[in-house]
Symmetry: C2
Subunit: 666 residues, 2 copies
Amino acid sequence: MDSEVQPLLRGEWEQDHPVTAQRDWLRMGAMKVRTVFKHYFKETCSVKTLKKRLPITKWLPKYSFHDLQSDFIAGITVGMTVIPQGLAYAKIARLPPQYGLYSAFMGCFLYMFFGTAKDITLGPTAIMSLMTESFADSPVEKDPTYAIILCFMSGIIQLVLGILHLGILVNFISYPVINGFTSAAAITIAVGQIKGILGLKNIRREFIPQIEDMISNIKETNLWDMTLGLCSLVLVHNMKKLRTIDWKDRPDDPPISILQQVCRKILWIIGTGANAVIVVTAASIAASLLAYNVDKLSLTGKLKAGIPSFQPPKFSLQNGNTTITADQIFSDMGIGLIIVPILGIIEAIAIGKAFARRNDYKIQPNQELYAIGLANIASSFFSAYPVTGSFSRTAVNSQSGVRTPASGVFTGALVLLALQVLTPLFYYIPTAALSAVIIAAVIQMIDYKVLRILWKYKKIDLIPLLLTFVSSFLIGIEYGILVGVGISLLILLYPMARPKTKVSVGGIAVVSLNQGLQFPAIEHVQNKIVEAIYADKTPKSVVLDCSNISHIDYSTIQGILELIPDFDRNDVKLVMAGLKLSVLGELQNADIPEVLYSPSVEQAIAMLQEDISNMPNGGHSVVVGGSEENIKVHDRDIINGENVTVCADSDTFSPAILTLTDSTHL
Amino acid sequence: MDSEVQPLLRGEWEQDHPVTAQRDWLRMGAMKVRTVFKHYFKETCSVKTLKKRLPITKWLPKYSFHDLQSDFIAGITVGMTVIPQGLAYAKIARLPPQYGLYSAFMGCFLYMFFGTAKDITLGPTAIMSLMTESFADSPVEKDPTYAIILCFMSGIIQLVLGILHLGILVNFISYPVINGFTSAAAITIAVGQIKGILGLKNIRREFIPQIEDMISNIKETNLWDMTLGLCSLVLVHNMKKLRTIDWKDRPDDPPISILQQVCRKILWIIGTGANAVIVVTAASIAASLLAYNVDKLSLTGKLKAGIPSFQPPKFSLQNGNTTITADQIFSDMGIGLIIVPILGIIEAIAIGKAFARRNDYKIQPNQELYAIGLANIASSFFSAYPVTGSFSRTAVNSQSGVRTPASGVFTGALVLLALQVLTPLFYYIPTAALSAVIIAAVIQMIDYKVLRILWKYKKIDLIPLLLTFVSSFLIGIEYGILVGVGISLLILLYPMARPKTKVSVGGIAVVSLNQGLQFPAIEHVQNKIVEAIYADKTPKSVVLDCSNISHIDYSTIQGILELIPDFDRNDVKLVMAGLKLSVLGELQNADIPEVLYSPSVEQAIAMLQEDISNMPNGGHSVVVGGSEENIKVHDRDIINGENVTVCADSDTFSPAILTLTDSTHL
């Protein structure tokens, strides 16, 4: 009977009962699976979908020479930025510098085909490098196997999330949590690079021990490294500001001269290329010092030249004479296999949205999952570690006037060129300079302003932020974000688990809920009901006002069943009142004879007072829905002493409830 | 101004707006922290609380000799059960057998002081052993360090959860998830013991490889082990049934004779001691075979005799010539440090509740957290691995007529005695017999009936169950439950992230939400608003009907801010209509001048039509709350062109919204 009622009720539900959104969703999930799949495959094979999955098909046909020019300039500029960044970020991931570059080209190439945001540029980022260091920490020093596997798996998972349209997951990570996490990550990274600036050796890795060691070894500071490091830091930090100078041109000013324009452009280029400038300068200083046999600076040293060979990720690792198997590796990465891809998605989509908004276009978040996923998978075949959208480089890309994702081609090409040609020169790059580049990059990520804002506007949201931040240092950055998400979810779910209940105890106790009854709440409600039964000496029957319940799950039904012994022992009854017809149907499926149903609290109380439970039909109420006009009763059912439910065109089966005796009068 | 409104509104809120439950909770969390702590410490130091924390103080004073008798019998019976189980379960945890017994006594002792359920008996369980094997898998074969640390940490975390009253966490794990997990665990364990029955050597550990190896090595089956194993299995499985024979006595039957009673008691004892009987018999067979120099059976072999020494857990481990540090160990355990304690809590509390209901008393779930937590911490000082409530032994305890938790003393004592005296005899216990004991124990955990029930009543709830079950085998039992919890939370949260919206587009677009606006929903709502703006050629202003919103968080405000560029670019306005006064306050804190507020959708539309935005006060609406009677307007504020909000004794600031021009007429 439930089924024939649905269509009637569905209409009202949609607006009235949010929970039924879930119900419908589940119903679809459970019942329409086949049709959904059929539809899904039909859709995935259509040309329209193909176009949707390959955004390049949208812009390439209209691609002009003018676009090419702009994309070329932008692509090269980004390339200039990513090369020093890549070398530096690899240090964060504790991999040899070239792996930063290995991670810097495939992403760009693939994003051109699958990306929906013209500005985004994929590649190594500070956060991803830190996550790689945390989760893909190989037992073999400087061995990339773990990192590459993490990259591959992240790609797979991002792709799967895309296919399952589970991008929704990122919605459950709130701003305060992301803020707290980002700031903590930035500090962790920055602190980790101080030893690079000071030229300190054999420092432990964990946050606290690291600081201890640096303090205890402070005397061994290499003054050459420190000088170069600090100078680079100050320079790069200030040069970056050149990029964002606001020239305060008022519209009524006279147009500026060519010379001014040129100067401004030059300043902008210096600002944009700050990292490159510093690294190149530092390298040449180091080289010339070496020429004079002054070998004081710690240098990057020799790295493997050339483009990485194309090969599928290796899923095992030789550690001395023991082989580490795939599942050993996976269990080492553990939860990282979820956190890293999710963080990647968050970073990329957040950036994409920001620039889409700035430049007035829209991104398709779900398509972005495909793009990042495929980028990671492809990159892993070139020995990359996990990649995602880089905020700094996306900004550079955007400001360099990028027109389409095609700019990625030039970025990637430049990186490959560098790998092929420049690796011998990377030898001379002082590690102190790279540390400076990193620190300058991450200090911008520390967002202390939000603290003031939250303190002023929304103190409450400081809780997840600070908990994320603090626990990132206490239990490790990789778990800090889990704590944060946990807290904010708990805050979201708390009201679900502790619905407000009103208990009014007269001759009969009435327990009313102010919201839906979902499984997390059942224990709480159980207690309320039992309290109500034992409210005073004599156990009393209970009416549960269910008018706000629009869906009941198995756990909840179980919870009700668990109460039955209490009822029997005390010979009291539970009446569920004001049930929606759909809920009644679900309860009758479960068939709990000890529980009675009633259209309203008042009638429930009346029912209990005339002690329906002594009636021949063993306490079964005969439930008749709808207005008096269309009451029908199936006598057969009554003879069997079964519940009789006549469906009606109303949401709750008001108004009449007839006991056997009454109904026989019909 | 918000502050002075709160008290007025709070009253209505409590019933009307569940979300404010969360709000109040947070408010408390954020603001009343100090007072709460003060109150908390005051409370924790009171005698009443001390009594609550030491339930023994309740029953010990009334303890009678009769209680002592019953508890003694029950305690000894449980001891008889736990000794063979302990030896067997240690096999699941891949630890030497004596560790099962090391884990079997401290729990009993401590629970006597802190436990609130007379029936519960703590100790090693199949699930906890499996979790130990999964999460505390030491790189050093048979080394307990990891297991002991996991035990200690689980205790700490359970204790902390208890102190923070976070037992609520277990409410978020639904029946179907627990069902799926338990069945999967049972199967994993059972399959893992087949090799023991067949006497197969060097089989790989992971589920699938294990099966492969067993099939490939099937020829090496040790027929002696197999025979003994299968016989033991069949016997123990059937003997157990003796315990639960229903003698179908009808009340009108004549009272049964002493002889019958004795027979029944004997059968019951055999049923209850089934494990012990089998193990002892098997051991004696093995011993006698050895006496005749028949050395075919695989035996438990030599174990360390005596009671484990009392020592704090070691937080480092020597592996060959490398030392594994504490944080290495922790990062190896990873998420297990959360899952294991939570599972422990679930298992114990579920059992406690079941028997409390059966025997008509109540447990204090939160006090149980203290009890289990302390039991684990204490046990870890005696080289135990994580312990929790054992269903089988709790049942035995209950059926043996236990009166108080004091029975634990006798169980514990018996275990200690066994360790001291019997260890030499354990040498002869055939591993096949232990495997039989395990399999007989876990097959009872496989709940296939629930599948039929769910299929019949609630197909939807099959999704989390099956996903938990399947993923337990695909990605490992330890993560299967995470997947399950994730899915069921996602099902709970989905409606929050995708609130139903109604978009009606006329000259002005109206977007209305059918529920609160929480951060997971903001992206969805953003899109709806932007869609509304661009619904047709000319961008149009949007009215967001917020009448269902009773609380706004920082992420949501951020989300609105992110839309501003869109508004400015298209020179359209967003009006938030039907705001509750509290929400208005929150929004005004955030001070978003581009957004207008209005008491109702109708007035919002009116406002937009007369294009308020051209007014001198720069589009600031003057908001006046409450009924016309008590309208007050602060002219100073108007002169500054600020929002003027006059608080009123109504939840929404209906009915009047006055623009500057209007208000000057006042």
